[in-house]
Every structure is written in C-alpha cells, then in structure tokens.
C-alpha cells in the first residue's frame, strides 16, 4: 500500500521491495538516466585497492551495492576517511556539472564536515546572488535502536533543518524512499537525505518505474478527527501502531508524515489541527530546539484558535543515546508514550 499523499504514484508495474532496495533502485535508475550523477563516499563499493573483491560492501548498509559493477569506478568513488573532502568535493562538483550523491555513512559524522555543509553548500546560492546551483545529495543513516551508542545513533535532523539553503528529507517507507531520493537527485538545491537504520529491511510495494515525490508534501497515513499526530522517519511506524491501538477505542487520529522537514508541509499540519484541535508531535530527535518543538510552535502561532488542548511533544530525552538496550529502548519514543500523549490531549 502506498502512503497516501497529494502525489499520485506512477502507473505501471510495482513490486514488494525493501527500503534498501528502493533506495538502490532510485540510485541505479537515476544513474542510468543521467550520466552526470555520481556516487562518492567511504565504502560505497568497498574493496578499493584491496586484494579481494570490489563492491565488497556496497555501502555499510548495502544501499549502493551493485553500482560499481554497473557504472564503474569513475562514477562510484570510494574515498579516504575525509568527510570534509567528501562533502566539499560534492559541493564543488555540483557547481560544475555533476549531480553528486555523497554518502556520510552515519550522520553522526557531520561534526567533521559541517562547515562544508552549512557554510558552503547551503549558502552558495544566497551569497552568490542566486547565480550558483548546487544539486548535490548528502545521504546518511540516522537514528537509534541499533545498540551503536552515543556517536552512531543520533538523528540530528533539527540541526540541518535549522540551516537556510538546505533541504532535509527523512523517508519512512520504501515507496517514499525511492520517490524522494529520485527527487533529491533531480533537485537543484543541496539535499540532506536521512535514512533511518532500522528501516532498511522494511518492505513495501514500490513502483518499478522511476517517480519523484515533490518535497514539502506530507503523506497522510491515517485519517481521523480526534487528534493530529505528526511523526517522521522511523517514528511514523510507532505512531501507526499507536493510532491503530487508539482506533480500537474509537479514537481516530489524523496521522501525518511530513517526509521533508525543510521544506515543511505547514499547510497539511495546520489544516489537520484546524479540524482536530489537538496535536501530538512525535520525534526521535532530542527535544531542545528540535523538530517537535518546531512543529508545536508552528501550530501555537498559526492555528492557536483551533487548539483545544495543550500541544504534546513526544521525543527522546535531553541525553545522548545510551548503549545498553534497556536504556536505548527507553530513550526512543515508544508506542505507549504516544498513546498516553494522545489520551492526555483528549482529556485536557
């Protein structure tokens, strides 16, 4: 089942694919269509300079598998561990005729290359008076649940959402993964494309043909008029479970996945709250200056008169991501917490 959205999906055949496969297909199809699309990053194929096989990894999560054999080392570049050089190369190349898809492996590594992202790629167009085009994609994995600890489990989407000049995408389904990645590659602006590491094996029906999902268009996953739930990335699935549980009690939720945090489909959220009068925002990121606060503030400012209860945000706590499974599980917003938040806003 496709996520419902204002975008109509393409006709033609479709098949069940994982999120990983959907991403891989998007890359493959765009690389076939457009010879200026290149992929670069650490281990995007794997085996560079080694005595064994090339394409040994195809990305640490296997997303870029098979690209090297098909497109060759000129278009699939395994790089040294030099993230500033990777992002800089992508940004510079994007201004000079390529459409690079750079991979940062874990988005937690943003700290060693943030300048090239936020001061360079993001600002070129504005600083240069509109004359620059930076059609680059920066792919990376985000999120907790992998027992990978404090330096490999962050979301960090609020940090890039904050930055003018960047677009920020967080697909939650295989369908969205393919369509949004194709849009990201075709887009003329720098796009931060964040894949949740717990979603790679998620399956869903995905059209075989290429299709692009426009940015700034939310997907509507459940319709209801008691409460609006906004959830993104892996949290969509927790929110779906919560909505289904609540449905059993006759509570109907309007469940919206913005899919892109920049641009944000403000209208979808505001229109929903106009109807429900109640808002729960679920986000796996940390709370302070986070996405949940951003959306809560939007509603408090622009749909206040429709609000019939306090806004509720369900987020990770203001702590790093802990390693121990018990702690990590408690860190990540749970279905129970979402259900409880919905009940609270209904009772308020």
């Amino acid at each position: 089942m496709f996520s419902e959205s204002r975008t109509t999906h393409p006709g033609g055949k479709s098949s069940v694919k994982t999120y990983r496969e959907a991403l891989n297909e998007a890359l493959r199809q765009e690389m076939r269509r457009d010879p200026t699309v290149i992929v670069l990053g650490e281990e995007v194929s794997g085996g560079a300079g080694c005595p064994g096989e090339r394409d040994a990894y195809g990305g640490v999560f296997g997303v870029t598998k098979g690209l090297l054999p098909e497109f060759g080392a000129e278009r699939v570049l395994d790089t040294p561990i030099s993230e500033s050089a990777i992002v800089g190369a992508a940004a510079g190349a994007a201004n000079n005729g390529l459409r690079p898809v750079a991979e940062l492996m874990f988005f937690d590594f943003i700290g060693v290359c943030f300048d090239q992202i936020f001061n360079q790629a993001a600002k070129f167009r504005y600083m240069f008076g509109g004359k620059s085009r930076t059609p680059m994609v920066l792919r990376a994995t985000v999120g907790a649940g992998f027992r990978a600890g404090a330096q490999h489990s962050n979301m960090l989407h609020p940090i890039v959402t904050h930055i003018p000049g960047l677009k920020v995408v967080l697909p939650a389904t295989p369908y969205d993964a393919k369509g949004l990645l194709i849009q990201a590659i075709r887009d003329e602006d720098p796009v931060i494309f964040l894949e949740h590491k717990l979603l790679y094996d998620l399956k869903g029906e995905v059209p075989d043909e290429p299709y692009a999902i426009p940015f700034g268009e939310a997907a509507f996953h459940r319709e209801g008029d008691d409460v609006t739930i906004v959830a993104i990335s892996a949290m969509l699935h927790k929110a779906l479970a919560a909505a289904d549980e609540l449905a059993k009690e006759g509570i109907s939720c309007d469940l919206i996945d913005p899919r892109t945090t920049s641009p944000l489909d403000e209208e979808a959220i505001l229109e929903s709250v106009e109807v429900t009068g109640r808002l729960v925002v679920v986000d796996e990121g940390n709370p302070r200056c986070g996405l949940a606060a951003d959306i809560a503030a939007l509603v408090a400012e622009r749909a206040f008169h429709a609000l019939r209860a306090p806004v509720r945000t369900v987020t990770a706590p203001h702590t790093p991501v802990p390693f121990a499974p018990e702690l990590e599980d408690a860190y990540i917003p749970s279905v129970e917490k979402i259900v409880a938040a919905v009940r609270e806003v209904l009772e308020a």
């Binding site: 790089t79 600083m127 008076g129 004359k131 085009r133």
Partner: protein, 323 residues
C-alpha cells in the same frame, strides 16, 4: 622562457588593476563607502596573476577572505566587484555576498571564502567534475600560510592525490595569518616539504617574481591539464597592508612594511625586468597605469551611484532554486 608582448601587457594590466583596486578599497573603506571588514591583497598581485593568467573562464578557482586579486586575475568585472563590495543591488552577487563572499560562477570564480580552509575541498570538487566529464578543465585553489594548518586543507591534499585530480593548490605564504607568524604556526620546517610528503609535486617560489611564479604555475597547470594530477605551490609573498583595513599591525617590525613596499614590490620588479630586458617600453606601462586608474575611478563612481538592494524583494530570494 619567451614571453609575447601581449602576454606581458596583459599580466601587467591585471596586476596593476589589482593594486589600484585594493588601494582604492582602502580609501573608500576609510571614507565609509565600504561596509564590513575587508582584507586587501596589495603586494600579492604577482601570485594571483601568475596563477590565473593561463586559465580560461571554464577553469575554476576557489579563493579566500583575501580574494579581490584572485577575482580580478580570473577575469571578474571590476565594476561589478566594486558594486558588490559596496553592497549594491547590481553587484556581482547582488550585494548579498560582499568582499568575503564575492563570486562569479560564470567566470569560474567559485567564491571568496570567509572560512579559512573552505576553498580547497570545493576546488577538489570542480576538479573532480572536470575529470569525470573529461572537459580538460582544471581547478586551482588559493590559501594562505595560515590555512595550511586547517584540517580541511590537509585532507583535501590527500584526497586530490588519491583521485589524481587536476587541482593546483596555491599557498600564498605572506608570513602572517592575522597577527601570527607562519613560522610559528607551521610546525614543519618547510611547508613545501610537508606538502610534497602528501604525494604530489610541491614547489616553493618567490611570489614577488612574477616570472618565476608563472613558470612554476605553468608546470603545475599543464600537468593538471594532462591528467597527471595535483600539485602544491607555496609562493612567498608580502602583504603590504594589515590583515584587515584598519589593522594597527603592532605585530610587525618597525619599518617592515615600508621596506617591503620599497624593495619587495612585485609590480616594480615586473616593470624593471620587462624594461631592462627590452620586452616592453615604459610608456606602454604608464599608459596601462592611466587606463587602470580611469577604470577604477569609473568603478567607484558607478558603484556609488548603483542602486541598493530592496529588502522587500531581495532579502528572501536566492536561498533556494525552488522551495
């Protein structure tokens, strides 16, 4: 080497244009006509021109906070530049960039950069595009002695070597990073040896001597164009002014600047050489000086008369191609 008169005239005109532009920036800044803070490159003209004179519009340079000279050497319109530096709507970047972010993509000028070390990774990208698309273009980045200690620059060197990118790294060693000596901040005995150890040809040249610098640049550029990979050039030069306009420069020795202006002026050296060798006549050079002076006058005049941006239309535009 044999230099065509045309080449020499062009080199001189460009160097003189930079000098006159920079000197005028100081004047206009002090008059309050230029907002912000401005780093001028007077004294370093030979490096900029030697590095860029063989490049064409499709080759790409990435510059620094001290970028006016690189812009002019790369062929940017000085009137558009002056307008930009004065924050005018018709400036090269519509007044949104200013001195530290001036750029002209059409001229292969990928931007000044207010982040020390910001440029070399970007020039790698331009070089990568050239290599992948087989355009025969090259990229060239500028950086100061201070920038050489920034991690982004060091990893960019290695990255360029790994991918054999057509990228010439130019380090303008003017002895200072703000008020810190290059010899203090670079732990290595020799920046050039350190560059070379990254696995690319590295040379050190007297950046006051246009001809020596040109020859070194040419070798590196030709090499890049032949697809043989990157090079690194350290050009020793002198900053005639402060780090920024208004810098009291207490960290410099008494008389240092005066001596440098008298004895280490790349323009004077150029003039002496070309007239001594009988390559050009004094009169031709004087004529250029006069023409350049008129050009700069016109640039300032036009810039002062140019419209200012309008917040109603200009503040929110140009953030995205589409949003």
């Amino acid at each position: 080497m044999n230099y065509a008169p045309d080449f020499l005239l062009r080199a001189y005109r460009t160097m003189r244009t930079i000098r006159a532009f920079e000197e005028r920036c100081v004047v206009e800044f002090e008059k309050g006509n230029i907002p912000g803070f401005v780093h001028v490159s007077a004294g370093q003209e030979a490096v900029a021109v030697a590095a860029c004179i063989d490049l064409d519009d499709k080759d790409v340079i990435a510059s620094t906070h001290r970028g006016h000279g690189h812009c002019i050497a790369k062929g940017c319109d000085v009137v558009g530049m002056m307008k930009e530096i004065m924050g005018r709507a018709t400036g090269l970047c519509k007044g949104k960039g200013g001195s530290m972010h001036i750029a002209d993509i059409d001229k292969g000028m990928l931007g000044a950069n207010a982040i020390v070390g910001g440029g070399p990774p970007l020039a790698n990208g331009a070089a990568l595009a050239a290599k992948t698309l087989k355009t025969g273009r090259i990229a060239l980045s500028f950086g100061g002695d201070g920038s050489a200690n920034q991690g982004t620059v060091l990893e960019a060197l290695n990255f360029a070597v790994v991918f054999r990118l057509p990228h010439v790294f130019v380090f303008e060693n003017n002895g200072y990073a703000e008020g810190t000596a290059a010899s203090y901040a670079i732990g290595a005995e020799s920046l050039t040896e350190r560059n070379r150890a990254f696995g690319l040809p590295a040379e050190c040249v007297d950046g006051i001597d246009f001809f020596a610098t040109y020859e070194v640049m040419k070798r590196a550029i030709d090499r890049a164009r032949r697809g043989e990979g990157p090079s690194a050039i350290e050009a020793l030069c002198v900053r005639f002014d402060g780090h920024y306009i208004g810098d009291p420069q207490r960290y410099r020795a008494k008389g240092e600047v005066e001596r440098a202006r008298a004895e280490q002026d790349c323009l004077k050296r150029f003039r002496e050489r070309v007239t001594a060798e009988g390559w050009l006549e004094e009169e031709a050079l004087d004529r250029i000086d006069a023409e350049v002076a008129a050009l700069i006058d016109r640039a300032v005049e036009e810039a002062l008369a140019a419209p200012r941006p309008d917040p109603a239309t200009d503040l929110l535009s140009d953030v995205y191609h589409s949003y």
